[in-house]
């Protein structure tokens, strides 16, 4: 066996021994930890929470405080979208001219870009937030996203409809504001 091969063999053996030692040390980290009164503490705290929760209907209301206006906004968007969509067929005033359409599309792109950036920043923050708050913001954002999807679907067949464009812009603004609020939220 050449000297180089012997060195490699030795290094390999050392590496293997080190790996085995690391694994043994990792296994030793699984040693049970004794916390004899922990459950009693948790139970006492949960009982206290149970009593407080019974006298506090606010959690349910808090969720609806965000969901109801958001749903109302979506409904209003749909109803008005249909109304103006129909009206637009009769009166051409609701149709955007080529230049105006370009401007509004540019504005939408700017909003989408801003939203993308905010979403990137918001993701790690949401991961660290309380579950209850995360679920409230997620519900609100999902509702706004649904409105954006509906507007886009309507615009696919009627891209120059000014009214639907306006609702789309409003939804994009709303999403941007919600994400900004989320980023400013202190916990």
């Amino acid at each position: 066996m050449s000297l180089k091969k012997f060195d490699d063999y030795e290094k390999g053996r050392e590496q293997e021994a080190l790996e085995a030692r690391l694994q043994a040390e990792i296994d030793s980290l699984k040693t049970p930890i004794s916390a004899p009164h922990l459950w009693e503490r948790i139970e006492a705290m949960l009982r206290k929470e149970e009593t407080v929760a019974r006298s506090r209907p606010a959690r349910f209301l808090k969720k609806w405080f965000i969901l109801v206006p958001a749903s109302a906004l979506v409904l209003a968007g749909i109803v008005l979208g249909f109304f103006f969509g129909l009206k637009q067929r009769v009166t051409p005033s609701g149709i955007l001219a080529g230049e105006a359409l370009q401007k509004i599309e540019l504005k939408e792109r700017q909003y989408v870009q801003a939203i993308d950036e905010l979403e990137k920043k918001a993701r790690p923050k949401m991961a660290a937030m309380e579950l209850e708050m995360v679920s409230l913001y997620r519900d609100k954002l999902e509702t706004i996203d649904a409105q954006i999807r509906r507007c886009r679907a309507a615009l696919a067949s009627n891209p120059a409809n000014a009214h639907i464009r306006r609702y789309l812009l409003a939804a994009l603004q709303d999403k941007r504001q919600t994400l900004a609020e989320l980023l400013a939220y202190e916990y």
Binding site: A35, L38, I42, E43, R47, A128, S135
Partner: protein, 172 residues
């Protein structure tokens, strides 16, 4: 506790049954405590984190979606509690802590010191290593718990092992 039993227990938890919470506690007590101790370094803080995690679980059990894995949900809550405690402690930035500055120990001290060495890893690396190597979650599950990609978990675990191997080779 198999998966069906666990789902039934969670359903009871949703109805505020404290016995069901106790069953969850008995099932996950050790992994939760171990993870919290690894992340926080002190048992008292770890117990506080587990207690806080159960309070958050009680308040947020409705947001758990059936069909998802409960353990990842529970560990995500625990890690949030641990990070809250770390934030409150206002410790120096863990990312700047250098494992190479740890003192070298003799062989009989290694067990204690390896735990110490793990404790000195940067926060995210430590969480990835503990959940993957000690608690045996998959890369995907760790990613879901920490809100990062499985690739990032893999990289963190790899770097953690590298640092620990280097530390072990110096200490022996």
């Amino acid at each position: 506790m198999d998966r069906i039993e666990e789902e039934q227990t969670i359903e009871r938890c949703r109805h505020g049954d404290l016995e069901a919470y106790k069953m969850i506690y008995e099932r996950y007590e050790q992994p939760l405590l171990r993870t919290a101790v690894r992340l926080l370094g002190r048992q008292q803080d770890a117990e506080d984190a587990v207690q806080d995690a159960f309070l958050k679980l009680y308040r947020g059990i409705d947001s758990f979606r059936s069909g998802s894995r409960f353990s990842t949900f529970l560990f995500r809550i625990l890690l949030n509690s641990c990070f809250d405690i770390l934030r409150k402690r206002k410790k120096a930035d863990f990312a700047n802590t250098d494992i190479n500055r740890l003192p070298v120990h003799s062989a009989h001290e290694v067990r204690h010191s390896l735990a110490e060495a793990v404790g000195m890893l940067p926060r995210q690396m430590k969480a990835c290593f503990t959940l993957f190597a000690v608690e045996e979650f998959t890369h995907e599950e760790v990613g879901r718990i920490l809100g990062i990609s499985p690739g990032s978990v893999k990289a963190n675990v790899h770097r953690a092992k590298q640092k620990l191997r280097a530390w072990l080779s110096v200490s022996s």
